[in-house]
């Protein structure tokens, strides 16, 4: 046990010394790893900001069903009950003619012409039910329910349900865009992680290649696989830790600087203000995550890279 501890301390010390001795090579590896970790971190924070924007957008998506003026109270009650029983319906709210008119009047209090028009046409504004979907991508299931003949009979034939036509198409496009953005984010993170691992892997292989004679001597003297591999792993883990710290520092400056300097709260769907706030409030967990990713990339790459030089001849 004591021997193992002594060996572990020696491995860590040798890895640290090697790190300082190979600083130029280490700088190149850390630069690549730092860029990769920054991209990963940016993807996480930007992804969260996108999600926030998309959630806000999709929360505004709903379906308005305009009712026939002949619908009776029991029919309305049954219709609402059945509608709320649908799996994709989060909420279904009845708006009477009077409520809609009062709302329209309050929203357009300064527009006298419009108010006059509203009072003249108040008799033709139908009552409606506003349906909020659980999943904006599955509005079709609500449409299918509303298209049933028994329900069709309750709807106002003059005012079509608001998801149809151009509005339905817009809802579908937003829903589709949200999925594409999320999937693209995941793919980008995976692609950059793989690229980073390949570059780190080759950097360490280069370091090993430079020291292959040393490794073969260690082998002949009876050094165990981990006694030789350990310092390389420690060295790569140091790359990972420094790169992770640098990436968090860089992204902090990027979002804080953008939030202060751009004088705008958002760039399209990317809400810079929210991103900055998200980054600050999750700083420690993001730092921990970056450290874990950095250490993992470094350790896995170095273990794979050293494998070839540490194999024993089997034939």
């Amino acid at each position: 046990m004591k021997n193992r501890l002594v060996t572990l301390i020696r491995i860590v010390r040798t890895g640290s010394v090697n790190f300082t001795r190979n600083l130029s090579l280490a700088a190149a590896a850390m630069a690549v790893m730092g860029v990769t970790l920054s991209i990963i971190l940016f993807s996480i924070v930007a992804g969260s900001a996108f999600n926030n924007s998309i959630t806000q957008l999709t929360n505004k998506l709903n379906v308005s069903v305009y009712l026939n003026s002949s619908v009776t109270a029991p029919q309305l009650s049954l219709f609402l009950k059945n509608l709320r029983a649908q799996p994709n319906v989060k909420k279904a709210t009845y708006h009477s003619k009077a409520q809609d008119l009062a709302q329209a009047e309050s929203q357009n209090a300064g527009n006298k012409t419009l108010l006059q028009g509203l009072s003249e046409t108040s008799g033709v504004i139908p009552a409606k039910i506003v349906v909020d979907p659980l999943n904006a991508n599955k509005i079709q299931s609500i449409k299918n329910f509303l298209d049933l003949p028994v329900n069709r009979a309750l709807e106002d034939p003059q005012t079509p349900t608001s998801y149809s036509g151009a509005e339905k198409s817009a809802i579908d496009k937003i829903a589709h865009a949200t999925n594409v953005i999320r999937e693209a984010g995941v793919v980008a993170v995976i692609v950059f992680a793989i690229i980073s691992m390949l570059i780190i892997f080759n950097t360490i292989r280069m370091a090993i290649f430079n020291r292959r004679d040393e490794i073969s001597i260690m082998r002949l003297l009876g050094a165990s696989t981990w006694f030789i591999r350990g310092p390389f792993v420690v060295e790569s883990v140091i790359y990972g830790v420094i790169s992770a710290l640098a990436s968090v520092f860089f992204i902090d400056i990027l979002f804080a600087g953008s939030a202060n300097g751009l004088q705008a709260s958002s760039l399209g769907l990317l809400d810079i203000g929210y991103a900055n706030q998200f980054f600050k409030s999750h700083l420690w967990i993001l730092l921990l995550l970056q450290l874990m990713i950095g250490i993992l990339i470094g350790a896995v790459s170095s273990v794979i890279a050293t494998r070839r030089y540490l194999k024993f001849k089997s034939k």
């Binding site: 004591k2 002594v6 002949l220 009876g222 165990s224 696989t225 001849k313």
Partner: protein, 227 residues
Amino acid sequence: MILLDRVTKTYNRDMGPALDRISLNVEPKEFVIVVGQSGAGKTTLLRLLTREERQTSGKIIVGGVDYDKLADKDIPLLRRKIGVVFQDFKLLPNRNVFENIAFALEIVGMGKHEIYRTVPKVLEIVNLTGKEKSMPMELSGGERQRVAIARAVVRQPKILIADEPTGNLDPKHAWDVIKVLEKINRFGTTVLLTTHNKEIVDKLKRRVVTIQDGKIIRDRANAAYKI
């Protein structure tokens, strides 16, 4: 101590065996010299003993370890029991004399204080006291080889394998190295030495095994150099 039974090593089927059904038995504390022309199979024999290569057929038992039953993970443990000296020294260039020797002890997890007690004793045996802080590049060929011997014996192995340790040395330094090997043998270590140096073989008057074309053609006690 070392037992080879009909051992064959073939690198390439088209070229014939590097070692062809050789059998050899070396007793504990023996000093055995292996001679032969370049390409005869001497180095292959030593590489089989250090398990750098694996025999194609036959049986090898060293210090009670049957190589057929040796798992890859146990190869480092085997090598810790065998001291090896190479013609090109194979010292770690970035470490000084003390650190090169200490490295062999670090591998086995020896503590710092014990290392500081052990290394000077071995430096004394190879007559290198005072050279602890010298880097390998600052030493003569003979001194480097004595550092390599010190590193090989510092763990007190039962067997010392020396692969042409005098090959790169002038006669005076070559003799210094041979004297150290004899001293180590007197302490009870089995020594297996390969060399081309006729003068050394003739003066030592030890058991001489001659290899030619991968076969042992002669095995004589107190013998002289003859190919």
